[in-house]
Amino acid sequence: MSDLLNVAWARAWVQASAAVVGKNRMALIDLDRAIGDGDHGENLDRGFTAVLAKLEAAETATIGDVFALVAKTLMSTVGGAAGPLYGTAYLRAAKAAPAETVDAAGVADILEAAVGGIVARGKAELEDATMVDAWSPAAEAAREVATSGGSARAALAAAATAARTGAAATEPLIARKGRASYLGARSQGHRDPGAESSALLLQAAVEAAEASHG
């Protein structure tokens, strides 16, 4: 098992993403029902189902090719806030990974690019109780591992852990972006659905890495 993550990993990540989103469809709907409009799980499920179908038929020479396919498909099938935000995240990630493999630094590059895309579109800051609260610490954690010489898998694992912590940390926050912000203080005590789905996707990336023999 090489230290690098390759195209097969990227494809496996997509498959694992579709699976985890399908499995958590209702849980994400319920999170969104509490402080939003109850469609987040449905939106992502519709999107990743479409991605999966497209991926099977597609040739992907680089990791970026995989992400670009994800980006375009999510953008054109998810809708809502999550569609453009996740779409832009994967689009920037695609641009950051125009290669067949990535190392730990590459993983950090991908995640930082993703965060940059989300912030560019959504203008959210940390602790606004959005998906940024999962992706941003994830990118930071990956960069730390990369800087201290860890492996790509280690970077990914650290990212997933940080995302999970970040998602949980949205619970006490007052939402300041997205639909939950309409609730003001009543949004406190609820986990942001987009942060939760982000943590699930990064966990899927780790599982894909464990399963893949790059």
Binding site: R33, M75, K177, Y182
Partner: protein, 335 residues
């Protein structure tokens, strides 16, 4: 959940199918599930500014019900309560373009804003000039730099009606956008829910309300509102809504206004008229004149029971444009 539907995933497609068949004299559906939109029968009007709106489904008749002469040129229905993606918005924009540019009328939700934004960029690539007006009339939400801002709710209908009349009389894109902006600046709304609604694919109510509770400041997507209060009389509830709306709009003596009492989908017409009666009396107490009235289901939340009150301050031009003929499935008057 009991609904007159088939496959929950097919609700929007089947609705649009039925809608287009029932109103074939006025509208046509693109039919394409990938880029689903409804536009005027007969296509874009050459030389006229095109008006496109859209957003999540579940608010019928908004927006497709307002496609037709004097109002929208095209409407883009997303999945239930989910903004449409850029592709159908772009396709609708193309279909609406008569060469004079297209105005996007967008309700202020992150998803709608982002998806229309991307569609506008795509349209620019094809040399269609697009301007966007974001509607944000809901006073239940505190406006602030640190939130997504106020939501667009029932006031949207008045923006679409009046901007549509401006486009129909031949105004150019900047002027139509300016009129739409002026309507948005002079319109405020707030709503109440007695019951929640159930999104077909979710299968459970969007929130849980006790038998003796109501939700004040409800959104039109089954989002919970500003506060939950014990059930009250129609007059008390109306006073609470109207006071917030008229206060924020600073309705003054001598103002001439449109009063729109909007049903959320599951409210009997009788209750809307009871709310209208009190809202009108309260406006008149403030010295305002209720010059025009609309009472009915215009911007709904599926089968939710509840209502919203919208007040638009008129000037001479806005009144003339409001009165101009309109021929759409859900709004019709004039020759």
């Amino acid at each position: 959940m009991k609904k007159l539907i088939n496959d929950p995933q097919a609700v929007v497609a089947e609705t649009v199918d039925g809608f287009a068949a029932a109103h074939a004299d006025l509208v046509v559906s693109s039919g394409d599930p990938e880029t689903l939109f409804v536009s005027r029968a007969g296509g874009a009007v050459a030389g006229k500014v095109g008006l496109v709106s859209g957003g999540g489904s579940g608010h019928e008749p908004l927006h497709a019900g307002f496609v037709g002469r004097g109002m929208l040129d095209a409407a883009v229905p997303g999945a239930v309560f989910t903004s449409p993606t850029p592709d159908p918005i772009m396709a609708a924009t193309k279909a609406a373009d008569g060469g004079a540019g297209v105005l996007h009328i967008v309700k202020n939700y992150t998803g709608d804003v982002l998806n229309f934004e991307t569609a506008a960029e795509l349209a620019e690539l094809e040399d269609i000039t697009v301007k966007t007006v974001v509607v944000n009339d809901d006073v239940a939400v505190q406006d602030s730099l640190f939130t997504a801002g106020r939501r667009g709710v029932a006031g949207t209908v008045l923006v679409e009606k009046i901007a549509g009349a401006a486009a129909e009389r031949g105004d150019d894109l900047d002027s139509v956008a300016a009129i739409a902006t002026r309507v948005n600046e002079n319109v405020r709304s707030m709503g109440v829910a007695l019951t929640a609604c159930t999104v077909p694919h979710a299968g459970k109510p969007s929130f849980d309300l006790d038998d003796d509770e109501i939700e004040i400041g409800i959104g039109i997507h089954g989002e919970p509102g500003r506060e939950r209060i014990p059930s009250a009389s129609a007059d008390e509830i109306t006073e609470q809504l109207l006071t917030a709306v008229a206060g924020d709009l600073q309705v003054a003596s001598g103002d001439r206004v449109v009063l729109l009492v909007n049903g959320m989908g599951g409210t009997p017409a009788s209750e809307l008229y009871i709310v209208y009666r009190k809202a009108r009396a309260l406006l008149e107490e403030r010295g305002a004149e209720v010059t025009r009235s609309l009472v009915g289901n215009y911007v709904t939340s599926l089968e939710m029971q509840g209502a919203s009150i919208t007040v638009l301050r008129l000037d001479e031009e806005l009144l003339a444009l409001y009165d101009a003929p309109v021929h759409t499935p859900a709004l019709t008057w004039g020759a």
